[in-house]
Amino acid sequence: MIAAGAGTTADRRRTQPAGLSVSDLHVRYGSSHAVRGVSFSVPAGRTLALVGESGCGKTSVALAVSRLLPAGATLEGSVRVGGLDLACAAGRELRDARGRVVAYMPQDAMAALNPVQSAGRQIAEVLRHRRGLGRRAAAAGAVALLAQVGIRDPHTAARRCAHELSGGMRQRVMLAIALAGDPQVLVADEPTTALDVTVQAGILALVRRLVAETHMTLVWITHDIGVVAEIADDVAVMYGGLIVEHGPVREIFERPAHPYTGALVRSPRLSRRAAAKEPFDAIPGSPPLGEFPPGCPFHTRCAHALAACAERMPETLQIADGHRVACHLTGQRA
């Protein structure tokens, strides 16, 4: 997956691109049921944006797919990449799959880097572990990866510790660590949420380029619908521990089927038509945290709620090619 232009001294393997297939995923933290039956697929080389607000379960999905859930959390369902079901993997097989089959990029890069080791060393560790490189070759490979993720002075950056780097650079280091393992699937968990908008733009452009070059399968978690528009091929919208809508990005933006998706797509940022001081499109209430109402999780805030919405969970129906939605209103519309 390391792009041809990397010029790394490490041997360049091209792993076969593979897609991700998640089926009936449940995640529980004790009595709290955070992910309540999530299924989606990402074809090889495509980018899926998983979008939702706090409490919707998107981070739990990301951690579950990467097999990085904290101790005490339980996972049910299947997570398939190529021929391997990560959800069942354990021991050596699981360790072997980490970083190679699926890699994880967290939101808080500062906390995710070892505070007493240099950036270069942390990247080189992956190269030594996965490719058996010696110390010097791995160090050189780390510098090459830093250059590839767009850092202008990679030699100096490699010697720095996390607290000596800016936010954007730290996130690029995390990307380098993920790429060093040559993963088939990359799960990026809101990596640009805490960054300035100009820094975010740079990283989005970088990721787009890398995905185009390496045909990596990418799952990008975000709450920012604008980022979705920038980066996604497909979109899965999460609310209340469930996927409420899933489809190609253009479909989602032009013909959102679920009322929540509609609200997201009309968020303040995107309504450039509106004049100054005109009221914003707002839906009442706030996203549920922890406790979910019976039936459709969105019904308490939905302007179009029916009686059925409070009683039963809606089924997921296909409304167009590749476009699915879970909403009682689907059958009702003309």
């Binding site: 990467s66 990085l68 904290p70 101790a71 360790r95 072997d96 799959a97 980490r98 970083g99 190679r100 890699a103 994880y104 967290p106 808080d108 906390a111 995710a112 880097l113 070892n114 505070p115 007493v116 942390q122 560790e125 992956v126 572990h129 996965r130 510790c161 607290h163 995390m174 660590i177 393992g181």
Partner: protein, 306 residues
Amino acid sequence: MARYLATRVGLGVLTIFSVVLLTFLLMFVVPGDPARAIAGPRATPQVLALVRANLHLNEPVMTQFWRYLVGMLHGDLGVSYIQNQPVATLIAQRLPATAELGLSGLALELILGGALGVWDGLRPKRSRLLAVVNVGLLSVPTFSLAFLLLLAFGYELSWFPIDGGTGGSRIVLPALTLGLFGMPYYANVVRDSMQETLAAAYTRTAVAKGLSRGAIIRRHVLRNALSPVLTMAGLDFAILLSGVVFVETVFGWPGIGQLQTQAFYDVDRPVLMGTVVVAAVLVVIATLTIDLLRMLIDPRTRVQAR
């Protein structure tokens, strides 16, 4: 950086000065008449007056203090009332023995406590062993522990000599007392630190790389989890020294602590003052050294020093 060091050294000097002043003033509260102690119980009032004049005991307190301070800066800590030798000599003679005991004790408590803390830290719940150690050792005062060990292993079982002095296996029980006394302190903190480090995001990153459990613990967890130990040792140093005093007295270990205890009974003020001054200097030096070591090990603390 230099400014930071200068500030720390300055504060250290101020600390030593304050300790000396406070102790000096306390000396005058302690009952006992040194003149009588020196001259003997049958001395006449004239002899007593002569002794007092010699020792400048009739002068105002602050003058005596000033006299002492000046002497101290010249390395002259006075002369023992009882043994008629310079205090500095007495202390210097006994310093090696105390150093041997103190360092052995420190090493034992760090190793025992650290090992238990790391082992226990890898378990989600506190082990029974740690609980027993906490209840058993944490609440026992040093001298009780010392006497217990002396009684059990020295007297009853005769595994170790109980005649006082140094040499051979005589170091074992005293050092063990100190080690066991400080062990639960380190064990608990290391355990908590291990738990915190294991839950850290960077440990998760290491797991995500697919490293083996051993590699994760060695390379990412241990160093971060153990770094507080250094700071703690610095804070603990003063307590260690006071423990040394008890242990030396109980086991007859001929160090500065034993000297100090005897001087207390004899109201041998110069010796008392001298030992306190030396202890204060040692604590300040130890704290400063720990700080420097910490800056070496953890790059983040270097930034704060600016």
